[in-house]
Symmetry: D3
């Protein structure tokens, strides 16, 4: 997707230009992981025009492999994003339907080939919500990944606004979740999967996560993030993880002067994956994810351009922002 944002806190009503960055949840996570030094390929379909080529170039620029990307007829999904400040919320207008990705053909990806040397596969709840074919390919990918021994992670949030192709999340998502090891899951999603009501859940994340694991036994870790939104300019973030044995919780990061909040969730998940792969320590991985997410708030655009050293310095408690020479 392309994000189009009026510059300098202007509103859409005022602007004569839009800053353009490419994003999309899975692409952001892929770029973050490549930037942190891992070997990453992004799987999608892009329009066969200069906009699609620009997205490919964007992925390549940050080190993501683009060999498996299809170039198809269709448009590039867009969203317009008016950055908020203080009590004025950031506003997003989606314009994402009929994209080349929505129209991907069934069985057009060779998942066995794609996963040949891979270790991890990540999907998000956006993909199965877009079209029947997207849901079909997503499920095929997840099952192939499981069969071939990859770790599968998924952001299994329930995005009720997206589902407009005739299927409901209840009929599609559970089979995907059942084939996933690491899940990012908030309250609304838990309700969907567990058939519980909201109030029960918020009291006890560990208990709900445990129920989720009981229902979907392949799940190994359930993750959730917390955001205190003091204003559009000032947020506080933290994260929790239930790994079946203990409930882990990060320190809170206080982001007092937000530069660009979009993509912070993706930065978290990329950081978490990096941490799990690198540290073999759930607490460190979770902190790494939360610190990555905090730093993303200080960076323009959808992607977290922080280095491992930058994130580890913050993990060690250096929030001073002192000049580095």
């Amino acid at each position: 997707m392309m994000r189009l944002s009026p510059p300098n806190y202007q509103k859409i009503a005022q602007t004569q230009s839009f800053d353009a960055v490419f994003g999309g949840s899975e692409a952001n996570i892929g770029i973050s992981l490549a930037h942190l030094g891992l070997s990453v390929a992004h799987i999608t379909a892009l329009p066969d025009n200069d906009l699609g080529y620009a997205v490919q170039a964007h992925l390549r620029k940050y080190g993501v492999e683009t060999t498996f990307i299809q170039l198809n007829p269709g448009r590039l999904g867009l969203f317009f994003c008016e950055a908020g400040a203080v009590m004025r919320p950031t506003k997003i207008i989606y314009d994402r339907y009929d994209s080349a990705f929505d129209k991907v053909a069934k069985d057009s990806f060779d998942w066995e080939e794609i996963f040949k040397d891979a270790q991890w596969f990540h999907w998000s709840g956006i993909t199965p919500a877009l079209s029947e074919n997207c849901a079909y390919e997503c499920l095929k990918a997840v099952k192939t990944a499981q069969k071939m021994g990859l770790t599968v992670s998924g952001d299994i949030y329930f995005r009720s606004g997206l589902w407009n192709y005739g299927k409901t999340p209840q009929t599609i998502l559970p089979e995907l979740v059942a084939n996933t090891q690491i899940v990012l899951c908030d309250e609304a999603a838990m309700e969907l999967y567990l058939d519980i009501d909201n109030q029960g859940f918020s009291k006890n994340f560990a208990e709900a996560a445990q129920q989720l694991m009981a229902k979907f036994p392949k799940i190994q870790k359930v993750v959730d993030t917390q955001r205190v939104s003091i204003s559009a300019s000032h947020n506080q973030i933290s994260a929790s993880l239930w790994n079946g044995k203990e409930l882990l919780q990060t320190a809170m990061q206080d982001i007092t002067h937000i530069v660009d909040r979009i993509g912070a969730g993706d930065a978290f998940f990329a950081g978490l994956i990096y941490g799990l792969l690198t540290y073999q320590d759930d607490q460190k991985a979770l902190e790494f994810g939360n610190c990555a997410s905090a730093l993303k708030h200080t960076i323009v655009g959808d992607i977290n351009l922080s280095s491992v050293a930058d994130i580890e310095r913050l993990m060690q408690g250096d929030k001073s922002g002192r000049i580095r020479r």
Copy 2:
């Protein structure tokens, strides 16, 4: 529609921002006419979101009445435009389907109310190409206008690339043309309407125009424009008009350092309409249109912000561009 253009001759492959202007053929003509001092209302449907409101504000800014515009669900049509230079062509990527306008409901405009105090109605061949409902409303508008005694003008170009809703131009356009007095028509369009081949036509515009009038007796004037494209930076333009009696031809305008060529055709048609309403002299009206179009090439954006005095000065032969204080 919104035009998104990389600034400063950048290609889409390079840009980090897009200059945004609102356009669309009929809107551009309406704004030009309002800018020249006439009273104009624009009839369309816009998305009921900040992008749609911004289009309304754009029309109001330049003096166009927006009372009759519908705000509907749907998106705003877009196009991406990479400005060329010298031998590098300007490139346009359309992203216009599923707009709020395409989805306008049948009989949702009250044309009798809209035309109550009106004198002229203009339509373009884009509208009936977009959707069945658009074609339905366009025809209804044209017929109502005829019934109520308005002059009807139409750019009856045949845009083969647009028709994708199941109907063909051959089944829709003739009835529209049959209810139009002033038509802008190029060779390809003549072929469509007259069932003649291209080579015959280009030899004799007057004869072909006369045949068109014979077939569609309400037509009073047939207009065509000529553009010699020496390069993307240097064009020469002129225009011809057959009024049933004589073939009129403008002087050639030599635009040696093009600033922005988009919208020049709309500037021509607006100038022609203004001229016909003002001068009662076909030759002067045609020259006014051609000079308006020439000046548009020197102005950023889709619309011709030249004043009547600016255009008349050029009609009188002052191409010197000398500083005016």
Copy 3:
């Protein structure tokens, strides 16, 4: 007036360009009210050149009727505004004399025609301070409005720096105030009108307001705003209203990261007028004004582009700035 501001916190000593926005207290209020959905006309005189036309276009863009505006010889008033930050104050250099508005001819506005379908008239203490003719027309407008049954509101601040045409505020303002129902009035203004000293006043706003009402019996509501300026980047605002019976006070809005503070007072007054016309509830109207003013601090330019829904959400206490999709 046109505001010219160096971009990106630059000082005038550094800048190579100025961001330009149009403003002026009454125009800002008119645009706010039109943006909130009311039908508004702005009455002024503008220079008969491209700058004057641009101001007209600006008003039209935001939905304000410009039919009654005169185009006269003279210049457009300007001010240069260097935005401050933290302990560095915003600096304004006025360059406003000899404007087309100052030179408006006596009896050149037909107030009976202007007010024919109107319900409300608003003036500010700037107008009578500019020239004898401005004062004459302002008084004529106020009296005609009273006669025709409009509600009249006025920002009756005493701007001592402006009066340079030979008259004093003491000789001109009281007659205007005497014909006004809703007045915005600070301490300095109260002193002027009531002949009291400053210390007495600040102790008891309600008492002073009551005295003002006693002296000018047409006044129905006296309003004042409070601003705690912690720094140029952080302000806290609230407002009070005495309606002859009770003293109302808003909640305080804490604007921790100011984007653009200019026009916040106008946003307040527009919000108050909208609230009084809409809610029939002084407390709600006052809160609406204060929340409108708070949101204006987060928006670039002189005018408050918040919607009714945006402002009401803040009135209901949502200061979180969470992303809206």
Copy 4:
């Protein structure tokens, strides 16, 4: 003065910002001469505010001495300049009255002190047109300069639009011209000074110049420039000089892609003065002036930032624009 120009060929009707440069004929000439390596002081009065200080800084930046400049109440003269292209003329809106310079006090400059180590004094016909006091000081300066043995040059163009303080050019200018050695003079000016009609003059520059010298015997050289304005983007310039003995004429410089034409006349005069002081050869001086002027057309802003080497390379015929490393 400050020039405010919409960027990138935008019209005032479109722009949201203005590029700002400082200019004014005499200041531009002074800066050019300083840039060419001469020692120059500029004499004027500026407003005692940040805009005035910025003009001082601008002059200092380019090496002009600012010691004698007065800081007075009043405003800074402005002009708005909409750059044209091809057949669209550049448009200027002046907003220059009531400047701090207009209001300079009589006898507030100590010309004897100012001229102590000086060799040359330049004035333009703008100064005596602004106010009675400006005319008074200009005449006093010219006479003092003559008395102290300086060479005096003047651009004696007749700017009929400026004179609005009650005096006419006919009553003021002749005494100034009578005390000037080097005059830049076009046809309209010649008519004013010689009481001849236009047609007679244009036939024979040398003869008219000779008549001027006969009437004002201190004049040693009469200079005129010719500009063929093919379009706003393409001009051809040349210059002539009558030195009492021969009529000199430069080669024509063909400026096919104008970048910024404002200040080209000032660049010419500065180049001429530099040439006369340096080469002791009227033909070379005239060519230097014409080449300086041509190069100015390729430079953004009011001032000619070309070096002596740049100009001499063009004098020697190198128009190739080949890259210099």
Copy 5:
């Protein structure tokens, strides 16, 4: 290298910012070839800091393999480039010494590994001019390439200004040329290699090329480009090639409104290599190179972002720049 250019024709004396693009002859050629669809790796050493990483990202963005690039201590070479216009030349200030590339260690590249699957190796005369180690590695690369059967091309221009490490081009270049098949060679270079004088050469390119081949028998094709610099804004280009049998010459391309001339030579050589690899037809390859170079003049930045289709369209004579939709 990084090119830093003042925007919008500003001079270094005026600018407050620099547009930054990455370039360098061999990198530009590599990117062009990758953009045209070939598989390309770039071999260099970059500074081990964010500037070096940005160059890597730039190469990756456009599809160039960066695996073999070294990250070393040292700086990134820079040049400042002030774009000229009309008679004002473009000016370049180099700041390239002590770069990480200059300091590359001997035998730090494993050329046999690098060339394992390669078909072609290109070097330029810049590399051996930078440092003794650069010359050493360049020679080693060329010899290894020859041994492994790659085609070797070289731009063997003699850059006298660069050689400052103690060796002369005469002692270094001949051995490199002796191991190269396709050479780009101008008059000055021919003199160096052939010990002939300039006047003799320019009369007969084919004869001189033949002599060069006689001296260096591995050379198969000698190429030269011609540029007529009418002004900094208007150039005409063509190219010639001697293949031992016939002298081929392209059509002339007339670039009437140059956008950015830097990198046009690299675009030519990349086009030539692409053409030789693709068409097996020297004339077509040469035309492809010249058309690629012409299009580069219309594109901002160092690299030619034209597609094969864009270049072939120009080869077929379409210079019209008509809008492509």
Copy 6:
């Protein structure tokens, strides 16, 4: 030096342009003092090209005398500066070696002539760290200044990263310090000069300062600044001074929304020098320095463009940032 910074919080990995400002510790201090109204000359060597001339123009613009500056071969030192936010640190990449200043010839400055009418000389610990010749000239300057009765101030920080020409700070700095009256000295520097360990020092600044005075008896005042870096966006600063009798300490300035932190130390020292010269009161001078430094954080670029009145208003406790008209 030139500072090149990506605009709008972009990282070097993202930017397509760099904002350019000129800086360097001593130049910043000189400009601040000139801006505050003192007569200042800057002594350095600059490259003899357009970049060097631009630095001269920058100094002249702000009123600094440039007569004594040498124009030599060599480059201009650069640094790239990526502005941080919240927990993301500002990052600096230096590219400063081989500058024209490093290569200054021994005895090429005539210090007796330079100091003829001077009262004060300031040096920083950067200069002797750059090259042997720089150290030689710095020592010569300091000794000449002492001999001629000037007050000498020095920022004697120990910049271990810079010393790469073969000498150590221990062998060079003490003789410079021994000839300085006012020293800015932090803990690391004290250790170097006093051979004490860090922990001892931080407990008692006054005692360490007294030891320094004991060792270098010409020192009259020892100054240190304190910065609490809450984040890259929020710092608190204060300063202390030991004058041999009492330990003075400023109020803390809380900079909650930093605009640009670079140059704040130089603003402090300039303010201190101004204060010492103006107030004859160490406490006021120290406060003036700290307030100058605080205001610098709110100003874009390296230099403090605050006026004496601006700084004194802050000294008197007005941190409100209220609009000044």
